[in-house]
Symmetry: C2
Subunit: 422 residues, 2 copies
């Protein structure tokens, strides 16, 4: 008997019909002889609607109360799903994050899981019942208060439960068939990836692939949880995210796992920085004060005539204003000339464990972009990833030509459903 | 410093604007130097909408899961209310029934309170905060499951908290100005009652007055809680429900407190019952098997020629079919001739502690109805109440003529808002 954790996002439980459909799938999984734990997000746009309601009452809602409010969403979805399963003749019991033992720190809106004690979930399984657990929410022991895990919280709930229960697999149900070699909306010839290493998945998620949240992938990697990303609209096999592809024939391991694009970042250039030791450290210590998530950093070669250089870095557009302000305040201390802000950039990342042993990947990437007339503004590399920054309006074309250049195009076009879950 | 428990029904917190209005009232009460505990129902029609959603998924939702679902409603309202209060500069913390220590038995949908341990509520008050508690919901220690208290549950939550915290008063906010001598929609000259004994209030609530639930009044009476029923739309004094009117000038105690009417009942007549001892006991033992709430019972004088009699009783229309079926199944055992069912009845109840010492009340009541041409079909009396059954279509006229006959009419007409809370 296998223990399977299934996570259904908001688009999979958007209305009563969807809930009944998902209930049938769960019942089939249980009847096939598996123990089943289900993690569910709030229905459709419920979370956004609750947030709108909060903002109607007060522009800046209190964190504790916002968590209390938003957790109503999963509560509704999980109770309805449990009812639907029971009406199909199986026992099912829904549990809040607190009842399921999702113990977190006290950071409202972005709590971290500190312990998972799923005793009631385990007991429900032992009784032969399906356990339904509210995603996205937890409980702080010190304050006794309800918390939420922030973006991607339901994925994280599912992975954390899978780890604590020693599940055989954690299935992440979504509205696409799995992880693709590129966004099928941009590259119609994108192929579904059957297997990917968690290392590659982490790089893809970090580079902007939306299907899985980096935090859930990290948690799965750290705790040895196998993820299976698949569609709730059909029974196709999706993408297995494995902690190791050992045992796979590494000779046939594809060079490139996939391509991700990200239009959510901006570039700040600090112009005319004195080219003396310690200046970069000084700048990024200042930037860290704004809690911004800095991604790529490039320092130009110093102009010998001036003894000055330029330092550019990318960061989420949402953090742009705060970082500009904090740097401007330290302009005299650092001694730079000016700040430039550019929010019209696009970032393309090519990810693949195979590139570790293949020196020609960068050259092939740059050539493909050059031949398409796309200018590269920044480059950064890790062991299994190459990222480049281009103009925002060329990013989709860039993804297509690179996808083609690396032989990733499929024979047929992918089918795409709309929407994303939480 | 007084400790005040305030309960706001769904119509008082129907939307963001109402929530802000209620928040202001709470802040005023706190700033006047009182400790304030607020019990809140779900917003407007939220509970009905959640119930509809459940019925879309499954016709007969599971009790445990229905409670899990419905409790999301108060959770939303209380979090929004706490946010609104905090935005006005006061500390406020919302608590679920479970967090507030509302311990119940395990009867889903109609749980009874078995213990109240409001430690967190008390701690919040000690910190100077306003405590907001979800009405209608509790927690069973044995199962660890969430429960709901059923109809009038939020009133009961408020009264139970007031009792456990030793509150000075429990204010029940609604959309009318208090308890009236009759329903102002039926009798425009109805007067607001300033003070009423809990004994009278119990009889009025039992007789169909909708503003307060009998269960909350019973709880208040048993635990010595003073209730103040008032409008959330103005600052008028409402109706004080006192456990004793001692200290009042009993000479001036009004003969009649008020009149209630009820169109929700039906009448069953068991025709041709053998007039031998034990038959009534047999019939009502059978009826008890259907868990119906029997109200008035009348046994006709036996016809000497046949040795048979008729027994009539009233019960909620909703229970009619079940009771008819259970009686019909025992027809041979009991030996009656036939069953008659009549759902076109109306019940009028005249309530007043003063009638205890006044023999003329019944005569005055019957005379008033006779003069208006209204036929009385059943009569039942308690120490402080007289109830009569008439045709349903004469009940409003009956209430008006009785209201007038007992000198209850006010000089001016009452102002009526729409809707009722939970």
């Amino acid at each position: 008997m296998s223990l399977i954790v299934q996570k259904y996002g908001g688009s999979s439980v958007a209305d009563a019909e969807s809930i009944k459909r998902v209930a049938k799938r769960i019942v089939e999984t249980r009847k096939a002889g598996n123990e089943v734990v289900v993690v569910v997000s709030a229905m459709g746009d419920t979370t956004d609607e609750l947030m709108d309601l909060a903002n109607e009452v007060v522009p800046q809602p209190d964190g504790r109360e916002l968590d209390m409010l938003l957790t109503a969403g999963e509560r509704i979805a999980m109770a309805l799903l449990a009812m639907a399963i029971k009406s199909l003749g199986l026992d099912a019991r829904s549990y809040t994050g607190s009842q399921a033992g999702m113990i977190t720190d006290a950071r409202h809106g972005s709590a971290r899981i500190v312990d998972v004690t799923p005793d009631r979930v385990r007991a429900a399984l032992d009784d032969g019942a399906v356990a339904i657990v509210a995603g996205f929410q937890g409980f702080n022991r010190g304050t006794g208060d309800i918390t939420t895990l922030g973006r991607g919280g339901s994925d994280t709930t599912a992975v954390a439960l899978a780890a604590a229960l020693g599940a055989d697999v954690c299935e992440i149900y979504t509205d696409v068939d799995g992880i693709f070699t590129a966004d099928p909306r941009v590259v119609p010839a994108a192929r579904k990836i059957d297997r990917i290493s968690s290392e590659e998945m982490l790089e893809l998620a970090a580079a902007g692939a939306k299907v899985l949240y980096i935090r859930a992938v990290e948690y799965a990697r750290r705790h040895g949880v196998t993820l299976h990303v698949r569609s709730s609209f059909n029974n196709h096999e999706g993408t297995l995210v494995l902690n190791s592809l050992d045992g796979e024939n590494t000779v046939e391991e594809p060079l490139i796992a996939g391509i991700a694009a990200d239009l959510s970042e901006a570039k700040i250039t600090v112009v005319g920085v004195p080219d003396i030791p310690g200046k970069a450290a000084q700048i990024f210590t200042i930037v860290a004060g704004a809690n911004a998530n800095i991604d790529m950093i490039v320092q130009n070669v110093s102009a010998a005539s001036t003894g000055r250089t330029d330092i550019s870095f990318t960061l989420p557009k949402a953090d742009g204003a705060a970082v500009l302000a904090i740097l401007e305040a330290e302009k005299a201390n650092v001694g730079f000339d000016a700040l430039e802000y550019d929010d019209q950039i696009g970032k393309l990342a090519l990810v693949g464990a195979g590139m570790r042993t293949n020196a020609g990947v960068s050259a092939k990437l740059f050539t493909a972009l050059f031949e398409a007339g796309i200018n590269i503004e920044m480059i950064s590399t890790s062991e299994i990833r190459i990222s480049v920054v281009t103009r925002a309006d060329t990013i989709n074309e860039a993804v297509r030509v690179v996808h083609h250049a690396f032989g990733l195009d499929a024979e047929t076009e992918a089918v795409v459903h709309g929407g994303t879950g939480r």
